[in-house]
């Protein structure tokens, strides 16, 4: 009963045989992660910039609130999103429960505070003289936004990587809102939870290895892009 060697052998076997159940879970994971990461970035980058750049009353309270949101347990996010999307809930009309988009909404709530706070911190720590120089050179607000974001791009890449890691490995929201439906909303992590419940520990470890490989491919790809960008 060696779960590790058995798990490793099984992972290789699942990948080489292009096991349809595993690939369905990999695809669901990829879809939901891409959607949630896109949602977090689209909202988190401009909001994070605004929070880090502008000085407005109540800014500290907002900062504190967003930092606090970093600690929101995923099961609670899952419960909140379930309560919103259940057929009898306020957003039941959308038909998002037990679907990929529904899971993506929940995972966006997980990723957004990470992107937002890390972007805000990055923008705060860019040199103030940058803003002054840009303004003196006649930059408008949009140009200022992009110049600052470009200056803070490494910190933001780090924020994206952190959010990606959290989203791709999440299980509570995926289980509660997705329902772990075979061929549809079963992600790698919910499949691991299922196999563990079944006592198939080696299969669970095998799927864990698959998830780590997927994450490695994504990280390598990002590193490659960064090199292409000449930095």
């Amino acid at each position: 009963m060696d779960y590790f060697s058995e798990g490793l052998a099984k992972a290789v076997q699942l990948l080489l045989s292009l096991d349809p159940e595993t690939f369905s879970a990999v695809w669901a994971t990829a879809e939901v992660t891409a959607l949630a990461l896109a949602g977090s970035l689209i909202m988190g980058l401009p909001l994070g910039f605004a929070l880090g750049h502008f000085r407005f009353p109540g800014r500290r309270a907002v900062r504190l609130f967003m930092d606090w949101m970093l600690s929101l347990p995923t099961v609670v996010i899952g419960l909140i999103v379930y309560a919103l999307f259940t057929t009898r809930g306020p957003l039941g009309e959308w038909g998002f429960l037990f679907t990929i988009p529904g899971m993506a909404v929940g995972l966006t709530l997980l990723g957004l505070p990470i992107i937002l706070t890390m972007t805000a911190t990055a923008v705060e720590s860019t040199d103030v003289r940058l803003t002054e120089t840009l303004l003196s050179l006649g930059a408008d607000r949009t140009q200022l936004l992009f110049a600052t974001l470009s200056e803070a791009r490494f910190a933001m890449a780090l924020a994206s990587a952190s959010a990606f890691g959290r989203i791709v490995s999440e299980v509570g929201i995926a289980m509660m809102v997705g329902g772990n439906i075979k061929w549809q909303t079963r992600t790698i992590t919910t499949a691991i939870a299922l196999e563990t419940g079944r006592g198939e520990f080696a299969t669970g470890i095998a799927l864990g290895i698959v998830l780590m490989l997927v994450a490695l491919v994504v990280n390598l790809f990002v590193a490659l892009l960064r090199r292409r960008a000449g930095s």
Partner: protein, 272 residues
């Protein structure tokens, strides 16, 4: 070139998966035992062939499954907690409830049997465990199995030993509860299906054995519950069709034919 063909294969797989989902699907709210034993995986292709329905399921504890039914989040329920089901119907959350199969629970424990419960009825066995203060692992997750165990304590004239140091409330699935029982040398109540699967994996080396079985109080009745018309969005027609299949001679035989490690797990018992 090879990479390209791999990508093509993947795309083909995805397209195929997409087209396969074209049949009318029905979402069953059910408990972990029907899914974990592999029964639903075994029945799904037969159901697709006979009725054209593509069965999908959300497998959770009975408590959560009933909650999904209450909220009209699933099309039909397949659960095993008769008392809770009757309450569910009485409160108007379910339209009707039809019994269609059963399996049974068994009391398992360490082979040494410190509380000496071997061969005793369920009630006598629990009294012996309580008297001896022997370790007892409970699911503690409000699942069907958990509800049954709680009612067994009450039927034996005992109070559920909620805070007793020897009463281990696991809060997880049956398989994990069995593992924890084996590690701690505890007694536990399990459905036979999970027990057979567990035994097969451990190949008799777990240290746990069946100590009490066959008691009428240990029968585990499964029912199908149709949801009321107030659930306006769900697939009522498909749900009726699925219910009819489970009650039909074909469906009943398919249930009896399902075997785990060569052993029949569920006994069909739909009213004729």
């Amino acid at each position: 070139m090879r990479k390209f063909s791999l990508v093509l294969t993947l795309i083909a797989l995805l397209v195929f998966a997409g087209s396969a989902a074209a049949a009318e699907s029905i979402l069953v709210g059910t408990t972990t035992s029907t899914a974990d034993t592999g029964l639903l995986d075994y029945l799904a292709p037969k159901i697709l062939k006979d009725t054209g329905l593509e069965m999908r399921w959300i497998a959770v504890g009975t408590g959560q499954a009933l909650e999904h039914g209450k909220n009209c989040d699933v099309d039909i329920l397949m659960v095993h907690a008769p008392a809770a089901e009757k309450k569910f119907i009485a409160e108007g959350h379910g339209l009707n409830r039809t019994e269609f199969m059963f399996n049974d629970f068994v009391l398992v424990g360490p082979a040494k049997d410190p509380a000496n419960i071997k061969g005793k009825s369920a009630a006598e066995a629990l009294k012996a465990v309580e008297a001896k203060q022997a370790f007892f692992a409970s699911r503690g997750d409000d699942s069907g199995t958990d509800k049954r165990e709680k009612s067994l304590w009450k039927n034996a004239g005992l109070v559920v030993p909620d805070k007793a140091p020897w009463y281990i409330q696991v809060g997880q699935g049956m398989m994990m509860t069995l593992r924890i029982s084996a590690e701690r040398g505890a007694y536990t109540l399990t459905d036979r299906g999970t027990w057979i699967a567990y035994e097969a994996k451990e190949q008799g080396k777990s240290g746990l054995v069946i100590l009490s079985e066959g008691d009428q109080a240990l029968r585990n009745q499964y029912s199908i519950i149709l949801l009321p018309p107030t659930c306006s969005k769900i697939k009522h027609e498909a749900a009726r069709k699925l219910q009819a299949w489970f009650l039909s001679p074909v469906g009943q035989k398919a249930i009896a034919d399902f075997k785990l490690q060569g052993k029949q797990l569920f006994t069909p018992n739909a009213a004729k």
